[in-house]
Every structure is written in structure tokens, then in C-alpha cells.
Amino acid sequence: MLASGIMDEDAGSMKHMIDCGAGAIVTKSIGIEPREGYPNPTVIELEHGILNAMGLPNPGIKNFKQEMQELSGSKVPIIGSIFGKNSSEFTFLAKEMESFGADAVELNLSCPHAKSYGLEIGHDPKIVQEITTKVVAQVTIPVFVKLSPNVMDIVRIAKAAEAGGAHAVVAINTIKAMKIDIITGKPILSNAIGGYSGKAIKPIGIRCVYEIAQEVQIPIIGVGGITSGEDIIEYLMAGAAAVQIGSGIYYRDVTIFKQICDEMKAWMKVHQYQNISELIGAAIQ
């Protein structure tokens, strides 16, 4: 499926990702009010990954209704990503997303670079459990919780989401990182600190999924650095039941969805796997 924050701010882009073969779409993270995000530079390419600090730009839940309505009747599930300051904002947004036709919601409790949102609340297991419990009680659609690797113990947060009744956890969000230009001596991102994604972070995502899989029963959606069919196999073996693609679009463009599915099928054939379920958690003793 398409990860949140990539080609998913308007209905036209999301339709295009569906046509390109995404099995589900996670929308851009939407909040209560429109937010412009940070000034540029907001995204830069580094040697082994992509660094971004967008600052949660989004048109606000009210304006997003039109985009969601344009997607009604899509052949794949649309998962509404939402971010808020507290459980009442999250429940309001989740209910709105449900009423707009979202098939599930993903709670962004892990954005690494926006003040009073994301990681600032998502690092505390108590808050994560409270928000999840309240959202789950207010909507009938599945609730996913997206986790940050920027914590001492991601398993504790995953368990808190599970205790709150989450239907799945999504791991991982980006990793706090920074780039300084040594000629001017200035950080390049306008927010100085951002989140690192892309190829470099795959081993971290694999480790997080592997650790979580041993402690929680709900499905894990793996995300972080996937650019090939073999990367997906690795995430599945670590314990993921599904995966998301984000920065992979930079490395292999929008055709990545079809390409990696083909690569995965070919690999499974060569290695004599019949079914994806044989791969899930295969690395866990």
C-alpha cells in the first residue's frame, strides 16, 4: 500500500497511485485546521536516503472531504491518516474520516518534527493507549497506529496500541535526522531537524517489526526503506503482514508497485513458497 505523505494530498494523485498498482492508499496526515507546513527546503536527497521536514502541511479535514468523496467507489481501501494534539481531536478526525468513506484510519502518533503533534505524544505509552481506546470506541472502521522508531522501546508503544484496541500497528515512521551544509555552516532543512527515510532505514524498520512481532498479536504493517520485492520478503519474515511504500517512489518511480509485486512473486516461485502466509514471521524462532 501507499505510505502516508507521498502522492496523497489530492484525489487525482491517489487515483494515479491506485492505477499504478497500490493495494491500498494511506492519505496524507490530515488535522483539524489547514496547515501550510514549514518553508522550503522541506525535502532533500542524501547519499543513502531522503530527509524531510514538511511540518504536517494539509488542507484541514473540512477541505479534505471533497478529495475523499472523489475517491468513493475506489477498487482499493482508502485509509485516512490523521494527526491531533489529544484524544478529542483524534476522535473527531476519525469520525469525520469514517463519514467521508474511509475504510480505516491510521493514527499518526509518530511524526518526528512537528511541535505538540506526532512523536511528542506518541512516545508515551499511556497517551497512545488512551487515544487509541477513545478512537476505537467512536468508529466502526479498523484503527491502525503508526509508530515511531525514535523511542527507547517501540514494543512498549506497540503494546499500548494493542491494549487500546488497535487493529494493526504500522512501523516505522521516519528517523530523526539532520544535514548541515559545511560551506555555509547552516542546516539545510528550514526546520533544521527532519525525518530520514529511504534505503538507509530498512534495517531499522526490520528490527522494529521483528521486536514488535514477538510481543503483540495484532497485524503489523511494515514500512521503511522498501525498494524491491526482496525487501518485502524480509519485512514479511520479520513479522509484517503487509507493507507500505513511500520513498521507494523516488528510487523506482510510480511503477514500483507493479515491479515489486512481480519481483516478490518471482522470488517466491524460485524459493518454492506457495503462499505469503508461509513467509510472515518466518525469521522469528
Binding site: 496523497d8 494530498e9 489530492d10 494523485s13 489547514p34 522550503n40 532533500i44 536527497e45 488542507p59 555555509t184
Partner: protein, 259 residues
């Protein structure tokens, strides 16, 4: 790959009261129509089409309209700027008689294509539109290529009195044209597309850009067409199916804003 190079401003050329050209060294090959993300350290990063291509020396030409361009406007030789790119699609120069229409600062990105077309021996007609005579720039640069230059000003202070698109309409009726290539205000480009009939058409679009590498979706038009990747140059066939063209753009928050 680390795709940001911090380089020094080489020369600054004042084109009008509010328009300047900066040149810098950047060895990556670039084609007319492509753009850079220009980082003004500590201030902003903005997309700028290439306006000068001379071996390793490249240039950008801009009007001061906001904080970022005002900071660029104050730059002197040896000041540091960061360059990402070049990004995006480039102009096709197919055809024997090419018709360029530049409105406002649009002529900046058309100039390297005009020079290239003339070097290839093509017949070139250029319509240059501006509000008033003192806003016109690159007149000599275009005349020096041997292209036919037609000028339109909104107040009639030089050349045709009226919009560039109105002058273009008259000329298109008189001349045999193989291709229309335009950059300028989107409503002007939309009018040109509407009168282009079957003549191959290319326009350079401008949208709020963030990543410039086809990821963030900020600049998408129509059904997932990225101005930074599939664009900024789009052909007429594509634009006829893009319902936002000439209608609205999206701001930094992703809200639709009528043009």
C-alpha cells in the same frame, strides 16, 4: 546521491528595475525547460527555470515578488546559493517554424530554447508580452539570435497595445506555424491552448513545489501529474485533459486557490 551543490554567485545582471539574472557554476547538463531548486541559505528554497546555459556556467532570471526572490535580488558575486537539480521535463524543438510566446518573466526560460532553435537553423517568431515598456527584457538577446521579435504591452508603450495572447492570435492567423511554445501567466497560456487548434503546443507550468523529486504530491495537477517530474513542460494534448489548468492551483497547505 547528495543532490545539493552549494556554489557561488558569479555575476549579477540587472534586466529591469525588478528583474535580475544571476549566474553560477554548475556542471550538470541541463536542457531548456528544466529547473533548479535554488536554496537561499537560511531563507527559502524556490524553483527557478534555467535561463542561461553556457557550458558549466548556468543562470536564472527572476522578478522580486516575495521574501525569497528579494533575498536573491540582494545577492552579490561570491554569495553562496545551493542548487538542487536540474529537474523536470524539457522543451521539444520539433518543427521548422517555432512560435514562442513569453508573458512577463516567462521569456527567461524560453530564451535558451530560442537560442538553441536558431543555432539549429529554425525559423523562430517570438511574442514578448509585458505590462509596460520598462518591464521588457531580453529584447536584444532575442534579436541577436536572428529570431523575429514581436512585442505586446498592456499599455501600448511599445509594440502592440494589448495582451501577448491577442497579438499571438493575429500572428497565428497570418503565419504557418509548426509548434507553439509558451511560458507566462497561466490564463494567457490557457487562452493560447484554446486557439492552438491542431498545432503542437507546449507550456511551462508553475506550481508551489516542495520536494521537486516526485514524492510529496504538492505540485500534482490532473490525475497525479507531477509538475516537478512529468512537468514543468506539458504538451497540449495532456493539458486539454487537466481540469485544473487555467482554473486553480494549490497552496502550501494543499487548498485549492482559483487562479
Amino acid at each position: 546521491m547528495i543532490n545539493i551543490q552549494v556554489t557561488k554567485v558569479l555575476e549579477v545582471q540587472q534586466e529591469t528595475k525588478t528583474v535580475k539574472t544571476l549566474t553560477f557554476y554548475h556542471s550538470e547538463p541541463v536542457k531548456p525547460g528544466q529547473f533548479y531548486m535554488v536554496w537561499i541559505p537560511g531563507i527559502d528554497e524556490i524553483p527557478m527555470s534555467v535561463s542561461i546555459i553556457h557550458h558549466d556556467q548556468k543562470g536564472i532570471t527572476f522578478r522580486k515578488v516575495g521574501i525569497a526572490t528579494e533575498a536573491l535580488f540582494r545577492m552579490k558575486p561570491n554569495d553562496a546559493i545551493g542548487i538542487r537539480g536540474p529537474f523536470g521535463s524539457s522543451l521539444s524543438l520539433e518543427g521548422n517554424h517555432l512560435f514562442f510566446v513569453g508573458g512577463g518573466t516567462g521569456i527567461a526560460m524560453l530564451a535558451p530554447a530560442i537560442e538553441m532553435a536558431r543555432e539549429q537553423g529554425k525559423q523562430v517568431t517570438v511574442v514578448l508580452g509585458a505590462k509596460t515598456k520598462s518591464d521588457l527584457f531580453f529584447k536584444n538577446r532575442i534579436r541577436n539570435t536572428g529570431a523575429t521579435l514581436e512585442i505586446a504591452t498592456d499599455d501600448g508603450s511599445q509594440g502592440f497595445l494589448g495582451l501577448a495572447s491577442e497579438l499571438a492570435k493575429q500572428l497565428l492567423q497570418q503565419e504557418d506555424i509548426d509548434a507553439i511554445i509558451t511560458c507566462g501567466p497561466e490564463l494567457m497560456m490557457k487562452q493560447l491552448l484554446d486557439i492552438s487548434k491542431n498545432i503542437p503546443f507546449q507550456a511551462s507550468l508553475e506550481r508551489y513545489l516542495k520536494c521537486a523529486i516526485g514524492l510529496c504530491g504538492q505540485c500534482c495537477i490532473g490525475e497525479g501529474l507531477r509538475v516537478c517530474k512529468e512537468g514543468p513542460i506539458f504538451n497540449g494534448k495532456t493539458l486539454k485533459n487537466v481540469k485544473d489548468f487555467g482554473k486553480y492551483r494549490r497552496d502550501s497547505a494543499g487548498r485549492k486557490i482559483p487562479l
